[in-house]
Structures are given as structure tokens and as C-alpha cells.
């Protein structure tokens, strides 16, 4: 619960420290999605924690010793905000002074992210993609079991569905306001995506905001409706396409005689080439991040819904396995 506040607070930190882009990301990620995922997992695994069995003294001791040593180590660090710290001596001046001539993008963060360190970013996107695949393979429900379950639930659990409808009815104000808001959120995500060259923004942030809008839709109108609107296999395809787009920009620049991800050769004019390259890879990043976030959320929520249905159906009959697990839950 407090993770949300934590995310907001750390984002304000970053604002104070002049890191606009980072604050942007943290705002979108830390406040929204990370808290939601934690909550979803908590509702699936039970809220209570077992009482501690061993004394935390040893852990405290270890923590204090490590912390003391770390603080002792910081005594040699450069002062906060000092201008001549070693960090600022090597590549940063080049980025700050020359990026306007070399890349032609006012937002230095975007130019470093998209052009100077594009290879690094490619790796990050690949990691995100892999994590999405991991969640998909861990949490996606087996298809045929789900379909049979759906049939059963639709035929036998009519009371359940009516209850759900009632809940949607009760949130009518919410639904209508969200209906108004969601297009604005999507539009704003697009603005962030394409304005990233000039202000804070870019593919990562835009992807998260876009996904957040779709998650809002899924939360208010039910997962099944959202699944029908955003077909899951298409979303998986989009995740892959984003990464492929990114990599293929690099390959195209290879074919044009430059290095991998060297955008200068994409157009006759190097600056124009840089613009095209950054635009394309930001688009790729946005695709992948959006799709992966949606995949993660849909799988968590789908797994949760299935679990709830199972417990609702099994609890009156006191099925053996479920009873076991609920007993353990109560025991914790």
C-alpha cells in the first residue's frame, strides 16, 4: 500500500535533483503499475505474514555493520553537488556540449539514450521483453482448461456473473469519468512519445502511460472485455515487433555502411538520419514496453480471477486441496 506513496516520494526526489526524465518514469512506474502488481500478488498469496520464528538480532547486526562500513566509505566521496566530481569529467561534457551538433536533439537524455548509448538501450529492451515472456510462461493459464472453466462458470456460476455486473453498475460514475479520461491519457502518451526529443519523455515513459490507460480500462470494464478489445496474441506480436524494429534499425544502418545503430547513414544529412533513427527506436521501445506491461498485468489479473472463481466454487463443497490451502492460510 505504501509503495505508491514511496514511488511518488522518490519521484519528487528526482524532480528536486533536476532529473526530469527519471522523475517522469518513476512517476508513471512507481506510483501506478508497481503498486498495482504488488497488490495483485498480495491478494493472490494472502495478506498476513507468519510470526517470526527467530530473533532478528543477527540480521540487525549484519545490517548495522554493513551500513557503518558503507558510511565510512562515503567519507572519501565527492561532496553533494560539487562541480568537479570525477563523474562529471569524462563523457558528460561531450554529451552536453556536442550533442546538439552531433544529434540535433535538445533533450540530452534522449540523445544519449537513443544515439550514444543505443546499444545499451537495446539490451534493456531485450531484458524487458524477456521478463514479459517469463511472466507469460509462468502465469498464463493453460488454454483448454480455461475454456472449459469458462463454459462451466458461464453455465453454472450465473449468480457470480450477476454479482459482478452489479459491481460494475455500482461504479457507474467511475466508468463514465474514465470513459472520458482514457482517450486523454492515450493522447497524452502519444504526446510524450513524440515530444521526447524536446521535453522530458520518450518511449519508456510513453509505453508505461499507454499501458496504464489500458490497465484502467481493464480494471473498470472487466478483464474479459479488455481481452476482447486487445487481443492477447496481437499484443504479444507487438512486443516482438518493437524489439525487432529497434534491432532492424541497427541492421539497416549496417547495410548502409555505418556501424550497428549508427544513424548518421540513414539519411543523406547526418542530423536528419539521427532524427529518423531516434524516432524509430523510441517507437520500438514504446511498442515493447506497452505490450510487456499489458501482458504482465493481464496475466496477473487473469490468474487472480481464475483463482477466485476456483475458491468460490470449491469453498462450499470443501474440496480437499482447497480446504488444505485455506487452512494453511488461516494458520498463518
Amino acid at each position: 500500500m505504501l509503495t505508491g506513496i514511496y514511488g511518488l516520494l522518490s519521484a519528487s526526489f528526482f524532480v528536486v535533483l533536476d532529473a526530469v526524465d527519471v522523475a517522469f518514469t518513476e512517476a508513471a512506474v512507481g506510483a501506478g503499475i508497481s503498486g498495482l502488481l504488488m497488490l495483485a500478488a498480495i491478494t493472490m498469496t494472502g495478506r498476513s505474514e507468519a510470526p517470526k520464528r527467530h530473533k532478528p538480532l543477527l540480521a540487525l547486526l549484519v545490517v548495522f555493520i554493513t551500513g557503518g562500513m558503507l558510511i565510512y566509505g562515503t567519507l572519501d566521496m565527492p561532496y553533494f553537488g560539487s562541480f568537479d566530481a570525477p563523474v562529471h569529467q569524462h563523457v558528460a561534457p561531450r554529451y552536453i556540449n556536442d550533442s546538439m551538433q552531433e544529434v540535433g536533439v535538445p533533450n540530452i537524455v534522449t540523445s544519449v539514450l537513443g544515439s550514444y548509448r543505443a546499444f545499451d538501450t537495446l539490451g534493456e529492451v531485450a531484458v524487458i521483453f524477456t521478463a514479459g515472456i517469463g511472466v507469460l510462461s509462468l502465469l498464463s493459464l493453460p488454454l483448454r482448461r480455461r475454456s472449459s472453466k469458462l463454459d462451466e462458470s458461464s453455465s453454472e456460476n450465473s449468480s457470480n456473473s450477476s454479482q459482478k455486473d452489479q459491481m460494475h453498475e455500482q461504479h457507474m460514475v467511475l466508468r463514465i469519468v474514465s470513459k472520458v479520461l482514457i482517450p486523454f491519457i492515450l493522447l497524452f502518451a502519444l504526446y510524450v512519445q513524440f515530444h521526447g526529443d524536446f521535453g522530458p519523455g520518450g518511449g519508456f515513459q510513453a509505453g508505461v502511460i499507454f499501458a496504464a490507460a489500458i490497465i484502467l480500462y481493464a480494471m473498470l470494464f472487466g478483464l474479459d472485455t479488455a481481452r476482447r478489445v486487445f487481443n492477447q496474441s496481437i499484443i504479444q506480436l507487438i512486443a516482438a515487433i518493437g524489439l525487432l524494429l529497434y534491432a532492424s534499425v541497427g541492421v539497416v544502418s549496417l547495410f548502409n555502411g555505418g556501424n550497428f545503430l549508427d544513424y548518421n547513414v540513414l539519411a543523406a544529412d547526418p542530423i536528419a538520419g539521427q532524427h529518423i533513427g531516434i524516432l524509430l527506436i523510441e517507437l520500438g521501445v514504446g511498442f515493447t514496453v506497452t505490450a510487456v506491461m499489458i501482458i504482465i498485468f493481464f496475466n496477473f489479473a487473469g490468474r487472480r480471477e481464475a483463482q477466485q472463481q476456483a475458491t468460490e466454487r470449491n469453498s462450499p463443497e470443501l474440496n480437499v486441496t482447497q480446504a488444505n490451502s485455506t487452512e494453511q492460510k488461516g494458520g498463518e
Binding site: 455500482q170 461504479h171 460514475v173 467511475l174 469519468v177 472520458v180 479520461l181 486523454f184
Partner: protein, 113 residues
């Protein structure tokens, strides 16, 4: 002209800060959830509106003004909706409001948890 704008924005900011502060005290001091939601409602709409208006009056150019108006609109949309949903959910889950029974105990201080 600019002087008038600045004075106006200063007034708006001061008033907004005051309302925010009173709302902050309210959320801490009020006895139960439903009274607290009132405090938050005042802070989130009037306070935020005043502060954003104050900023609008000193905004340097059109895009900034537009963004501020967007923020104001969203706040005015979102916060009442969220409060409404919260109150409804709380009521549905049988959270009883503290009714006025402390008065016959001789004006006890509201219990602060």
C-alpha cells in the same frame, strides 16, 4: 498590469495554501473516515484549484497555460470521482460512520487513532 497579475497570483497561492493546510489538519483530526473525506474533498478541489489558478496567472507562455488548464481540469474530474468511489466502497463494506453520540458524553475530544 503585470503587477496586478502578480498580486492576484500571490493571493490565490496564499489562500490555496491556507486551504490545503486546513485540509491537512482536518485529515489528521477528524474522527472518522467520512468526515475525513470531506476534508480531503475541500483540499483537493478548492485548494488545488486556487494554487493552479495562481500559477496560471504568472505563467510565461501559452503552452504552459494550456498544460496548467489541463491539470486543473483533470484534478477537478478525478478527485471527486475518486472520493465518490472510495466512499461508496467503504459504505458497501460496512464501515459505519461515527454518529453523534459523543456529545452526550460531555463533549469528549474526538478519539484520534
Amino acid at each position: 498590469m503585470s503587477l496586478i497579475l502578480e498580486i492576484g497570483s500571490g493571493l490565490c497561492l496564499l489562500l490555496g495554501s491556507f486551504i490545503c493546510l486546513s485540509g491537512g489538519v482536518g485529515i489528521l483530526r477528524f474522527p472518522d473516515f467520512y468526515t475525513r473525506i470531506h476534508a480531503v474533498g475541500v483540499t483537493d478541489t478548492l485548494g488545488a484549484g486556487l494554487i493552479l489558478t495562481g500559477l496560471m496567472l504568472i505563467s510565461p507562455d501559452g503552452l504552459v497555460l494550456l498544460k496548467l488548464i489541463m491539470i486543473l481540469l483533470f484534478t477537478l474530474f478525478i478527485n471527486p470521482t475518486a472520493s465518490h468511489a472510495l466512499a461508496k466502497a467503504a459504505l458497501r463494506n460496512n464501515l459505519k460512520p461515527v454518529l453523534d453520540d459523543s456529545s452526550d458524553k460531555g463533549g469528549d475530544k474526538p478519539s484520534k487513532l
